[in-house]
Amino acid sequence: MSTTGLISRNKIHPLRLALFISCGSILMMFGALTSAYIVRQSAGNWLEFDLPTLFYVSTGALLLSSVSLQACYSAFLKGHATMYRGLLALTLVLGLAFVILQFQAWEAMFDAGLPLKGNPSPSFVYVLSGLHAAHVLGGLVSLVVAVIHGFRLPVLATPRRKLRLQLTLTYWHFMDFLWIYLLLFFVLQR
């Protein structure tokens, strides 16, 4: 991105710092919604239901994708081209699988008689997991870019490309963390 020529005398790259701050911002958004959930729940008239099991399957996919992207990053640093490319593709597949699984989980909820409309208890689950999925889609876009770079450019850990992959990695881990938070929240805040 266009930061050429700007000096940064600190160790952390400005864009990396900007990404951390953005993550804080996203966190506030989810924090607000989970707080709203607690406030609304404590007011009573709250439907109890079991989370669709597909949520646990999707969690597995997302966790694996995080691990594979981390391994992909180390392979990139070491210059292991095949490993790097393979893991990059694997991450993308797992990421896509996560979104599809989330979609199926919503369908399962709907089929179990928990529509989006009606008691706010399931509505909250739809909105929170949906908003998370939307953010994962953003991550998938940057993964697609990473894959295109990975397969079309020579495998060379220049500072610029290292930074790019690192930013994708940070965001992806954050998505992972956020989902774990939401899942634990849904399970524990009953």
């Binding site: 991105m1 266009s2 930061t3 050429t4 020529g5 700007l6 000096i7 940064s8 005398r9 600190n10 952390i12 400005p14 864009l15 710092l17 900007a18 701050i21 953005s22 804080g24 911002s25 996203i26 506030m28 958004m29 989810f30 924090g31 607000a32 919604l33 707080s35 709203a36 406030v39 609304r40 007011a43 008239n45 989006l116 409309k117 009606g118 008691n119 706010p120 509505s123 909250f124 909105v127 908003l131």
Partner: protein
Amino acid sequence: MSSVITRPQNEQAFIEEDGYEDHFHDHHHGDKYQSNFVTTYIFSMDHKMIAKQFLITGMFWAVIGAAMSLVFRLQLGFPAGDISWLEPFLGKWITISSSGVGSLSTEFYYAMVTMHGTILVFFVLTAGLSGTFSNLLIPLQVGARDMASPLLNMLSYWFFFLAGAVMFASLFLSTGPFSGGWTAYPPLSALPQASTGSAAGMTLWLVSLTLFVVSVLLGGINYVTTVLNLRTKGMSMWRLPLTIWAFFVTAIIGILSFPVLVSGFLLLMFDRGMGTSFYLSEIFIGGQALDHVGGSPLLYQHLFWFLGHPEVYIIVLPAMGIVSEVLAVNARKPIFGYKAMVYSILAIAFLSFIVWAHHMFMSGVNPFISNFFVIFTLIIAVPSAVKVFNWISTLYRGSIRFNSASLFAIGFVSMFISGGLTGIWLGNSSIDIQLHDTYFVVAHFHIVMGVAAFFGMYAGVYHWFPKMYGRFMNETLGQIHFWGTIISAYAIFWPMHYLGMAGVPRRYYSFANFDFTSQFGAMNAFITVAAFVAFSFQILMIVNFFYSMYKGKKMTTRNPYNATTLEWTTPIEGIHGNWPGKIPSVHRWAYDYGKFGEDAISQYVPVSEAEAEADKELVH
């Protein structure tokens, strides 16, 4: 006695010798920056140009928003008056009676009140104020070539522009713009059939404000990153001017609170569009029961005010920063209690997150919980008072230069005191039973936020106009503008306290039907006249602004005020990258005024051994 201060002979030559070499001018940036009309003036990535874009767009919205207030003030001041002359502009929103008397339609009255609040709070006092000055001053005063990401910075402006375009379009809908108040409480905001403005008008309102939040976040992330990461050599956090501290903390507040507003909006969008019941419960419209059950409108109020209260500090903190800087420069004294100023900014920022329910004392929150919010609300008065004390002490025994900028800065302090005191009244939940939703609240927030923030903005515009356009604004017109504005602003808002104490409610179309409200007819007429007078003085300011842009007195030296901060070491004609060669290194804080008999010592001037010795003497 010869001075202990050793000044470099030639500023530019010294910066080339002592400054920080970042090899900025080694690469050629010409093709990406300012190479043609479009990249220079429209899709500019230069922070100085983006600042001007924010300012001019903010001015545009200020005129629109203020004109709207005149329209509804006419209704309040002269309810029986004939306004059929407005028909060419407002069309069907003016209803003409059989006897030929034109009056404002009730829906449009509410639409105008709503748009006035939304536009002034978000587009003028958030984007126009912190957008302008954060952009202009952060890179110049911390010693950076530009923002951390010029691209995101450009997008920040264009998202703001887009938000404005959408809101502007909503003014021309056949059902009118949103009309449920700037706070957009459900059910008026959640049910498209609730009122005419709740239909398409509300949809566009939501789209517009969501775009606006994107703009604020892109800008804020950039400001924070730039301040943390791109300060020049020697510019420690404790050497930053208070302007930068204020913009920095403002950006952090925005980054943490605006996403919460988006969360609130998201649930609202689901209620509007998807039939969910987050905020809606057991509602009848036109005798028909809706199938929304189980929602809570209080939930929205919590989410809204969790942003809403910090938002008022997002508006006022940049003004405070500007005022601190302008007062120190024009009193020729260091700002009194620099560290206390920084700590009170931080304290205000922290407290602003835990007082939101003081807007909900009367909404049915548990009175026991209200007590906590009362206490934290009253504690905010402490850091606020520290700041006021420090501004006054800065002025005390200063050799004050009275000019447009410093007058507006002093006016800010006056306004902030007047409005802050009424805040303490409102902060007590028991007094709020009487005062909530009356004109007392209107008086409070217009004085402490509306007028005060405008004063801060004006101080900044008069002070930094030369930095933006290389010319000075006309001083005489500026001072007329100041006196006209402060007098008419108090004339508008002071009487409103009495209306409020008598229980006159805000947001009413007409006060004719009750004795306790209709007795204030003359006072309301007076307020309306004062509002027109105030508006005309602002037109004078705008004339001065554009006139001076082309015809104002030219700036002939780099540092016309003999100020200490780094923006006055850059060339008169702004260039891409701000400094022609190296970036100045910083050797001292931003407020060395009157030190050892020197009028002012710029931040780039090194501390000589003699000065260091003399400093030690001072401490002992």
